[in-house]
């Protein structure tokens, strides 16, 4: 498309010219930074949740309790490493590592900042980039599911198995939505390389231009990272700890690590794809969008998304599995498809109407997107039905209707049938209370009904 021609990032080709040792340094630095971020994220979450819950959070170890996560990590390392006897040993041990491995891969293509110079040497703050970098992110996060599924399966427990099954179903459902919301980014950018996507947001961030995609992405990342309100695979209230129930010590720590790295990953990806990456908001002043400053903007945005994670965790309760699936398949997926259709149509319109191809071609699209989001939210926002309030004076009093004699409700006066022998009704009760297989509803006892109609 014509108006997308200028999107191609001039710095893109730089990666090809990095020395091999620069790449190694970058990779090692990324690993270290990720681990440090995880330690910080643990503290960040616990402190924030503490504030939400009118308590202090960790504040003893180190300044402001910052070292608490290190103590926790040391504790996990020193704990007894227990194994399940009947477990499939190899997979049981490999699964958590697979999780961590997959989660560590994502940061490779995340641009932390624009090009910076070390002396004479100039290099972008990104390990690597290639034309399908965003697809690579999707692919790698999908591998992480294997860690959870295999771990849950290999530890041969009921809870772990259920956690694993839930996890796989959940990840599959929500990766569809996630993928579709990212497709719109590809459409507008005309590229799948992360540095190009960031560069494409120099005028307007995709969180506004593609507002519905952004919202859907933000919803699906909660499913992707198994965080509240979608933490069904490990929901502590039902499945004890889900897939990681049988893991202890360092093997548990691997899962724990993977979970937090995943959170960081999706925050970084959200920042890159929708929040303008390392760019300063609402301006294209080059002084703010080049050099080391860009790292600051990136980190602020990324931790803002992390804050959202924590905020949601401190506020919401958990979905039920079937409701969660219904949300994914019956609401989000159709919405994502419709939005993709609308977006494609709008882009074609822009392409065919020359007047719209001026410099500000994105404004009509942004207005469309915001309106689309508002309409979608208005239609889909779950408005709970009014609570039923019965007017008992209008309900005829049938003492045996439910299979067991009941007293009249206040206001209920009409006696429909003559009093029947109580013992007969009691004798009929056990049959009528046999659960019908529905969700706990009790049917009217057939015997009592027949008698009632005979009386009428």
């Amino acid at each position: 498309m014509v108006f997308l021609a200028g999107v191609v990032n001039p710095t893109h080709a730089v990666f090809l010219h990095d020395y091999w040792w620069v790449t190694v340094i970058k990779a090692v630095a990324l690993l270290v930074i990720t681990i440090l971020f995880v330690l910080f994220a643990l503290w960040f979450e616990r402190r924030l949740v503490g504030r939400f819950q009118s308590r202090l959070g960790p504040n003893v170890r180190g300044p402001l309790g910052l070292l608490q996560a290190c103590y926790d990590a040391a504790k996990l390392l020193l704990k007894e490493d227990m194994n399940v006897t009947r477990a499939d040993k190899l997979i049981y041990i490999l699964a958590p590592m697979l999780s961590v491995f997959a989660s560590l891969m994502v940061f490779a293509v995340i641009p932390f900042g624009s090009e910076v110079s070390f002396g004479h040497y100039k290099t972008p703050l990104q390990l690597t980039d290639f034309p399908v970098a965003a697809l690579y992110i999707l692919a790698v996060t999908a591998i992480g599911v294997y860690g959870i599924v295999l771990g849950g399966w290999a530890s041969r427990g009921n809870y772990t198995l259920m956690g694993a099954v839930r996890s796989s179903a959940q990840l599959i459902s929500y990766e569809l939505v996630m993928g579709l919301s990212i497709v719109s980014v590809f459409l507008v950018t005309g590229s799948m390389s992360t540095s190009n996507i960031v560069y494409g947001q120099r005028h307007i961030w995709y969180c506004i231009l593609l507002a519905p995609s952004f919202v859907m992405y933000m919803i699906s990342i909660f499913g992707e990272t198994n965080r509240l309100p979608f933490d069904l695979p490990e929901c502590e209230g039902e499945l004890v700890a889900g897939y990681q129930t049988e893991y202890s010590s360092m093997k548990f720590a691997w899962y724990y690590l993977a979970e937090y790295i995943n959170m960081l990953n999706v925050s970084a990806v959200a920042t890159t794809l929708f929040l303008g990456g390392y760019r300063f908001p609402f301006t294209s002043i080059s002084a703010l969008n080049t050099g080391w400053w860009t790292v600051v903007w990136f980190l602020i945005k990324m931790w803002a998304v992390m804050f959202l994670f924590v905020w949601v965790r401190g506020t919401l309760v958990r979905f039920r599995y079937d409701q969660f699936m219904r949300l994914g398949w019956k609401k989000l997926l159709p919405c994502a498809l419709i939005w993709l259709f609308v977006l494609t149509a709008a882009m074609s319109a822009i392409f065919f109407i020359p007047k719209l191809q001026q410099r500000s071609w994105w404004w009509p699209l942004a207005i469309l997107a915001v309106f689309g989001l508002i309409i979608g939210l208005v239609i889909l926002w779950p408005m709970p039905a009014e609570r039923p309030v019965k007017d008992w004076s209008k309900v005829p009093y049938e003492p045996y209707a439910g299979g067991f004699p009941v007293p009249p409700m206040p206001g209920q006066t009409t006696v429909v049938s003559a009093p029947q022998p109580v013992l007969a009704a009691v004798g009929a009760a056990p049959e009528s209370f046999a659960p019908p297989g529905g969700a706990g509803t009790l049917p009217a006892a057939p015997a009592a009904d027949a008698e009632g109609s005979a009386d009428k």
Binding site: N158, G237, V317, P384, R387, V389, P405, G437, A439, G440
Partner: protein, 448 residues
Amino acid sequence: MTDTMPHAPAPAPDEVMDDSAFVLAHGGDWNDVASEVARLQEERIVISMGPQHPSTHGVLRLVLELDGEYVKETRVGLGFLHTGIEKTMEARSWNQAVTMVSRCDYVASMCNELTYCLAVDKLLGITDQIPERAQIIRVLIAELARVSSHLVALGSLGNELGGTTLMTVTFRGREYILNFFEAVTGQRMNNAFIRPGGVAHDIPDEAIDQLIADWDKIMLSIDDLDDLLTENPIFRGRCEGVGVLDLSACMALGLTGPILRSTGYPYDLRKVAPYSGYENYEFDVCTEDSCDVMGRYLVRLHEMRQSMRIVAQALAKLRATPGPIMVPDLRIAMPGQVTVGPDGQGQAPDHVKHILSDSMEGLIHHFKLVTEGFHVPPGQVFAQTEHPKGVQGVLAVSDGGTHPYRVHVRDAAFNNLQSLAAQTEGGTISDVIVCVASVDPVMGGVDR
């Protein structure tokens, strides 16, 4: 031994027993159970949820037969917290037994004590002689205990749904109530404050000032809970239409309390059969018509506000009603108004002076009271109150001695737990924990 003698069924064949999932099968013919399980085990998982599980309110054990996510069969296992409270009471004097009954439903200790003391009062025939002020204090304390119990119930409901903040929000409010209990009784839980014949001692003025100062914070905790949950679509999705039990089911299973009131039937003993002067207070019986977990949540939520309304009235009455807090009969009344003496021990100087220098009879009564307790006329009574969990009854039997011959506590949660199978079968495993939380069992009371 003849064939007609009852005997154990033949052991199940080995191929059935190899290493299939462990099944608890109480009752019934084991062969039938085993063959049924063998038939179903290809499709069904048997999960023993509890007694060590985060969401079973202590040590409740649920044996669930699952078909995928769906619960096909629920069996409730009790008794893991059986501490022999009722039996222990038989080895204590009537007064000391208060400390035992206090530990039944330890989340609402005061309500247990009230029921027990009403029963003992009835046995002693002094129900009409309980001083007005003691009645007011009993109501005040019991209602605060109700609020604190409901806060725990709803907080743990939220916590089991993953909302840890709800737990802290409610426990924050409960903390102020427990502070008040501490200021009044010296203990936060297991207070042993309500005694046969009245209450242990008068409420200090500082405690009342403290309660009034904390009033808004307690209300804020209730309001926060309301704001966070009542309109929350996720929460309503989890609770609406779950664990439905209509009135006839409640009647058939003997369910009381919020579960019964969530069907719309306004059965509240405080209105139906008032005790301790509840007829003198203005409050509404909260009901809902939805019969589900959401209804029970709303009943509890509104009940807390009504309870605070009663507490406000009780505080006003308390100010207007000075007087004794124990029946005047010295054979029953332990000396009240204990103060800390110079030796750091609790002492009642006036009482000591009275029995040591003024009244030989008083000294004898005191000696008998402390060494063996008071005698209760032989008989058998049943007293019941509206406990936060439902109708709590105490059957007290006396053989005329100073110790109970038998005390049985009818714990509401014990009866309410019987409904779990009816509530959960056919639902998902996630609904099970919601249903358990809506019953709000405290295993100390259930297993006693």
